[in-house]
């Protein structure tokens, strides 16, 4: 477990969804720092500007203007500097074929936006915990690992565990 602050980047064009996400995150006990971008183009610009100080995780909406989540995911996974960034898809719609494609394209998890705020809080907490568990002790170490070409990022789960669901039974 890392004690340092988790850097989260959220790419979502919907103002309400960004608000929900911030509210849910603020309700958590885990200390996080949230950055938000409003579309795919802004996301890619942000990532290239901050290539040396990448966030710990990217939460990516699919349906965005100018450049959608699919395009962003492909660009990130094709880029040598960005491909190790963990990408969690955060979407309203849920279609098997879309989910399969995202898994093939290297997304870490798929998360469906819940309708209930309590569910949203739970799933965000689960996700943050998952990421924190695999997080390197410091950003500098992460950078070193990244330079060494080792798998400093979190490895992709099996297809069955790719879709994150709210687990009531799980004690967090």
């Amino acid at each position: 477990m890392s004690i340092r602050q988790l850097n989260i980047l959220l790419a979502d064009d919907d103002k309400d969804d960004r608000l929900f996400f911030k509210m849910a995150l603020d309700a958590l006990t885990i200390s996080t720092q949230l950055t938000t971008v409003a579309d795919g183009e802004k996301l890619m610009a942000y990532l290239s500007e901050n290539a040396q100080q990448l966030p710990d995780v990217l939460l990516l909406d699919l349906n965005m203007p100018r450049k959608n989540g699919f395009e962003c995911l492909s660009e990130i996974k094709l880029s040598n500097t960005l491909k190790q960034l963990p990408v969690i898809i955060f979407s309203t719609s849920f279609e098997q074929e879309v989910v399969n494609l995202l898994y093939q394209n290297g997304a870490l998890y798929f998360m469906r936006k819940p309708a209930e705020f309590s569910q949203l809080k739970k799933i965000i907490q689960q996700t943050v915990t998952l990421i924190s568990q695999d997080l390197p002790a410091s950003p500098s170490l992460k950078l070193q690992q990244s330079r060494a070409g080792q798998a400093g990022n979190i490895s992709q789960p099996t297809r069955e565990n790719f879709v994150l669901t709210v687990q009531n039974s799980r004690v967090i």
Partner: protein, 439 residues
């Protein structure tokens, strides 16, 4: 001529004979003379006196002798003449002989020619016969030809009739061809129209897909936000709300929840008909196990047992069939009898299409018959068709939640598999679903 010659010859011969006779007489006389001379000479010798007398007589005799010699010379000349004449006559006789031989030769030649002519005549007679025979034969042949000619004329007449008939038929066929051409154009036009309609349908289908996407995303999103805001208000403003206000927000939450379910089900229903269909040989029992895992919580909660025996492999669109099994099993669990633990029995078997006697099924094919039987509340028999229609529900949403799409999806999936589904039930006596899909 010959006869004339013969007469002359005869005369010559007679003259000759006379001459010869005379010559012989004279020779006899000469011989007698010589005897006489010898007598005289002897008498001279003997009679000497008589010599002078005899001389004179002798002289007389010489004279006479001369005369006789003259005559003999004349006779010689005459004889020569006769010899000459004889030779001439021999020449002539020779000539006659030659002429005779010539005649004989000519005669022979004539006879030869006559013989040849006889042969030639016979030949001509033979040829004549042959020609007569041929003429007879030609006569027969001619008769035959005349007959054949008649026959040919008859046939020609028949052919003319047949030709007219064919020409008529040809015209009829041309008429029909023209009619077919028109019909063909009409069909081509109809075909084009159908293609246009098909193209329009494809466009309409694409529009439907676009609509599906709008439903899927754009409608879900505002709905989800309403739900989220309501849940935030209920959570954060709980103390500030009156009981009625809380109650109204809760009803709002339920309505939004039903709407979300409705949208999800509609999406599933439209996805069944729009996604690509890939058939694969699948073990149905694996699918049943997956569904059982998915429904684990409900199964435990209701103490349900699911028996799946004698399950044969089937050629199916796996993900669709998973949905089908999920809908049927979850239905059986949902409409269970409150007092009795749900018991679901799933079986399958192969059956000949000919035994099923259904117009939608081919008698030649083998079918996989899958049965899902439960011991739940069932339904009245007259609802057995209606339950498969979209939005058709037999119970109020307060009693059994649902959108009335689940069985419509099931039916659509079975139809995608070129099969049929039927339901049989009586109220409170459980329900049985029979599926037939090509094995």
């Amino acid at each position: 001529m010959a006869k004339i010659n013969n007469t002359e010859e005869d005369e010559l011969i007679i003259a000759h004979n006379e001459l010869t006779f005379e010559i012989k007489e004279k020779e006899k006389l000469a011989a007698e003379l010589r005897i006489a001379r010898k007598e005289l000479a002897f008498q001279i010798e003997q009679k000497g006196k008589r010599a002078e007398e005899l001389g004179i007589a002798n002289k007389e005799l010489v004279f006479q002798n001369d005369e006789k010699e003259k005559r003999a010379a004349e006779l010689i000349i005459a004889n020569k003449e006769l010899v000459f004449q004889n030779k001439e006559k021999e020449k002539r006789a020779e000539e006659l002989g030659i002429a005779n031989k010539e005649l004989v030769f000519q005669n022979d030649e004539k006879e030869k020619r006559a013989a040849e002519l006889i042969i030639a005549n016979k030949e001509l007679a033979f040829q004549n016969d042959e020609k007569e025979k041929r003429a007879a034969e030609l006569g027969i042949a001619n008769t035959e030809l005349v007959f054949q000619n008649d026959e040919k004329e008859k046939r020609a007449a028949e052919l003319i009739i047949a030709n007219k008939e064919l020409a008529f038929q040809n015209k009829e066929k041309e008429k029909r061809a023209a009619e077919l051409g028109i019909a063909n154009k009409e069909l081509a036009f109809q075909n084009e129209e159908k293609e246009k309609r098909a193209a329009e349908l494809i466009i309409a289908n694409k529009e439907l897909l676009a609509f599906t996407y709008i439903s899927s995303h754009d409608l879900q999103e505002p709905l989800r936000k309403i739900q989220t805001f309501v849940s935030i208000i209920l959570e954060n403003e709980n103390e500030n709300l009156s009981e009625t206000g809380k109650n109204n927000f809760q009803r709002m939450q339920l309505a939004a929840g039903r709407m979300q379910q409705l949208i999800d089900d509609l999406l599933a229903f439209s996805r069944i008909s729009t996604t690509e269909l890939t058939f694969e040989k699948t073990d149905l029992s694996i699918i049943i196990e997956e569904v059982k895992t998915e429904l684990k919580d409900t199964i435990q909660e209701k103490h349900a047992t699911i028996e799946a025996t004698e399950i044969c492999p089937v050629n199916i669109i796996a993900f669709q069939f998973r949905q089908l099994m999920y809908n049927l099993i979850s239905n059986a669990l949902k409409f269970s009898n409150p007092g009795i633990s749900p018991h679901i029995i799933i079986t399958s078997s192969i059956i000949k299409g000919s035994k099923l006697n259904n117009e939608k099924l081919s008698p030649e094919k083998n079918y996989c018959h899958i049965t899902i039987k439960d011991n739940g509340i069932g339904f009245e028999p007259h609802f057995r068709e209606r339950i498969f229609e979209v939005f058709q529900k037999l119970h109020g949403k307060e009693v059994y939640a649902g959108t009335g799409i689940g069985l419509a999806i099931v039916k659509k999936i079975v139809e995608n598999h070129n099969g049929i589904i039927s339901a049989t039930s009586e109220l409170n006596k459980g329900a049985q679903f029979d599926i037939y899909i090509p094995a």
